[in-house]
Amino acid sequence: MKLSAIIANTGEWLSGSGPHDQIVVSSRVRLARNLKGKPFPGWAKKAERVAVLDEIRGAVIQLPEMKEAFSEKLEDLSPLEKQVLMERHLISREHAAKGAGSAVVMNTAQTLSFMINEEDHLRMQAIRAGLQLDEVFAMINQADGELEESLDFAFHNELGYLTACPTNVGTGMRASAMLHLPGLVMSEQVNKIINSVNKIGLAVRGLHGEGSEAMGNLFQVSNQTTLGEAEEEIIGRLNKVIFQILEHEQNARQILLQQRAETLLDQIGRAYGILCHAHSITSKEALNLLSFIKMGVDLGLFPGGYRLQVDELFIETQPAHLQKGLQATKLGSEERDSLRAALIRTKLKKMPEPEIGKIPTTPPIVQSPTSEES
């Protein structure tokens, strides 16, 4: 299976649907594992890394769920291809920087991916649309169970699964959900939420995980601790918190609709205007404006049929995705900005203007009969 064939299709986590997928973009669980008796990738010599790679890759491609898998060594991928995988959250930023001795294996649905010799010998993840942490954990847990029949993972009776970084020891699990929170950002409540989530041992991060900026009002919530709790307990705690954030976001949107409808409409209308007419746009600006369009779709201001198109633009406007069709030349940032603007104009061309009448500008207590005529 060729990479180009895989990336021609949008992954299931983006195009598929799941519970609460208007606000919870995706759910992801990754497990970190290491082979017993082998130095961790960061300390291993190249020959040792290659041996580990061969052993793990051999086992992974034997898995029944990886029958039609894409499997490639990172040294054989171009920088652009690596970045495309990173923008789709199929490999980490750290893994994209790796070369000889590392590899990636993923299924065609792009729901399962295995990073070999990232920070640990094996980082495997399952990702799906909407809020379904229990389901993605079940998927990756099954793969882990099948792999341990042929691979001997480093395990300690007290500390659990041993990992290169002590922050991952124990379950080796990081469960996370990507949340779209424009309502909380607009009503300036998001920092309060982030602080309270941090206090209970969960982390809130930007679009691409650790150290990345929050763009497009997208936030990643994940567990910080991995030792002292079972996998199910961690996920249960995370689920509870996500449900609360979900509720806060829905409330924030309702309050904005009732009290600041004019501002909300202005933001969505401006976003639509700029995106439809801009000839040069950075990816950051594009994401921030697309976020308003996405909220507009959620609020019913645009016909529902445009949801996927808007969601796809979040990924398609990322630097590497823009260039994936034209691999011969590497574009400069100015060229990318105009290419991005052109792509957005084309995609939004058929999308109608936001239907302002659908938003009640005053609290909907009594509907005046004449309002429908105007």
Binding site: K36, G37, F40, D144, E149, F155, H156, G160, V169, G228
Partner: protein
């Protein structure tokens, strides 16, 4: 004033540290200060830097610079990268790590998933311990018939275990020597001052 490390660029970072009553000073340029990790005042000791300038062998002798006997990773490497060298490092640096893990996590004992092949051994070990306890109790109470029954059960369990560990070894033949002699060898947790679950209450 020139940088003490590269001796070519202008020094812009001036450090003073008092170690055991003696004042130590070092002047660095921006590039060298970054390279030495000076921007992180908590993880940085002037003494390490000064030692590093002239006497690499000193670090070897330094009792603070413990090395993992299996992979050769040093505590200094760990400070620098925040990552360990191999699974045996958890044993080599156990003392320093347990404090760190305590701050990092919700407990010090893994309560989650156990690999299937170890799960059997773990549950068997627990069963064996329970039987042994019962046996001792039976002997104390002079219930010799019960004791005989328990002894037979223990023998049976032990003989099953012996058979399986032999076949397990033959499956794993040809590998490199294990870093860990077995999951039971390491004891990282100093239980005396650690509550069973020091998790933060939410």
């Amino acid at each position: 004033m020139f940088c003490d490390v590269c001796k070519s660029k202008e020094a812009t970072v001036f450090l003073t540290q008092i170690v055991e009553g003696k004042m130590q000073k070092v002047n660095l340029c921006e590039g060298c200060s970054k390279e030495k990790g000076v921007n992180d005042p908590t993880g940085f000791a002037l003494a390490d830097l000064l030692l590093g300038l002239g006497a690499a062998q000193e670090i070897e002798k330094n009792p603070l610079g413990i090395r993992c006997s299996v992979c050769g990773f040093s505590q200094t490497d760990f400070k620098k990268t925040g990552r360990l060298g191999c699974s045996a490092c958890y044993d080599a640096f156990a003392e320093g790590l347990s404090g760190m893990l305590k701050n990092m996590h919700r407990g010090l004992i893994h309560t989650g998933k156990v690999p299937a092949r170890l799960a059997l051994a773990l549950s068997r070990a627990r069963e064996l311990a329970a039987l042994q306890q019962g046996l001792e109790k039976a002997i104390l109470e002079e219930k010799f018939e019960d004791a005989a029954g328990l002894r037979d059960k223990i023998r049976l369990l032990e003989s099953e275990e012996g058979k399986e560990s032999k076949s397990g070894e033959s499956n794993l033949s040809g590998g490199e020597p294990d870093l860990l002699d077995g999951p039971n060898r390491l004891s990282l947790v100093q239980t005396e001052d650690v509550p069973p679950n020091p998790g933060k209450k939410s």
